[in-house]
Amino acid sequence: MDSTRRDFLILGGKMFVMTGIAAAAFEHVLAGTPEKADTYNTADHWWAMLIDVEKCVGSGHCVRACKLENNVVDEAYFFRTWVERYHVDPLDMNHPIVDSPNGGMDGFPETYPDGKGKTFFVPKMCNHCVDSPCTQVCPVGATFQTNDGVVLIDKDYCLGCRYCVQACPYGCRYIDPRTNTADKCTLCYHRITKGLQPACCEACPTGARQLADLKNPSDPIHEFLRTHAVQVLKPQMATGAKIYYNGLDGSVR
């Protein structure tokens, strides 16, 4: 043996450094190409939606797209989003006539006569409330708000006790008859976390529905909220609803 203590230390040091480099490189190999790695960070987003009532023509594109995208039961009374038509008599503003034939899915074939009162369409969906009553009443923690402000349901954990269906002041939840668990709009969480639009916004032909990210400073929502008078539904319930309605009539419930 002619190797000295000095040689041994140098060789050992080299091997140590090389192992470190190889380990670091292998981590990058495991992570895959940058496009494939999941770069979505919940802390960078705060999702909301803007619904412009003045632009809605009641075509029902959003309802159909939502049903297809989310595999919602194709029957009336099961809707993640639906369109209501309000007809307000000027002499009785507090009692609007509201209809929503098949959730507005096939449009509104019957029309009101022209010139008598006011008629308009109001698309409705889960309001993704900040202080949502539905998540507060769930006895098992099967519904919750994510860090980016979307209220979701854990379908594997839901008991189907229907408490949340009763708690929602907007009537946005239903029991899926196939699984007997609660179901509702997820704001197309599988789409927005991939940088896509929700199906309803994608399908809307007039741009009446727009996804908004309140944590993104360059989102046009900020300019819109500064320059328009927007409302949320049932503000007296203090739910912190995040679906902002532009041009909403006071008679809408």
Partner: protein, 153 residues
């Protein structure tokens, strides 16, 4: 003098407590899902379950990637802001290449009247027609090409 009288009672009680805590910890580890409570009072992995749902609508960017001719055709048309899948239906399978079949052409008139049939609820400036008055038995596409609906005879 003995400091603790009848100390075996205390030992027995302690053993009972220890056994109870052990049973509780094992039962809890078995019953509570692994990710429950890491982000809040819910199963954190439920978020991944929701995200894992497959796409049905491909999104406008995916359509525009290949169908540049239609994008150019619509560039100045009044229908330019409408997403392809709004009329053609969800086509994520077609866009990703997993579904080989050619997408079906939508049936024009019933689709057109979803938006353009006269209805008192629609905004005043929005173009609507009384369909029987306007075209009789003709279909919409006889005069209007859906991608660029100006009349080009």
């Amino acid at each position: 003098m003995k400091r603790f009288k009848d100390v075996e009672h205390l030992v027995r009680l302690a053993a009972l407590f220890a056994a109870g805590i052990l049973v509780f910890s094992i039962a809890r580890a078995q019953l509570v899902p692994a990710t429950f409570g890491t982000l809040g009072h819910y199963r954190a992995s439920a978020i991944d379950d929701v995200r894992a749902k497959p796409l049905v609508h491909a999104g406008q960017a995916a359509c525009a990637e290949c169908h540049t001719d239609i994008v150019d055709l619509r560039a100045k048309a009044r229908h330019k802001a409408i997403a392809c899948e709004s009329c053609h239906g969800p086509l994520a399978g077609h866009a990703s290449g997993t579904v080989e079949t050619k997408p079906k052409l939508p049936v024009a008139t019933p689709l057109c009247i979803h938006c353009h049939a006269a209805n008192t609820g629609k905004p005043k400036r929005y173009p609507t027609v009384d369909i029987k008055d306007h075209a009789g038995s003709e279909t919409c596409v006889t005069c209007h090409k859906p991608h660029d609906p100006r009349i080009q005879l």
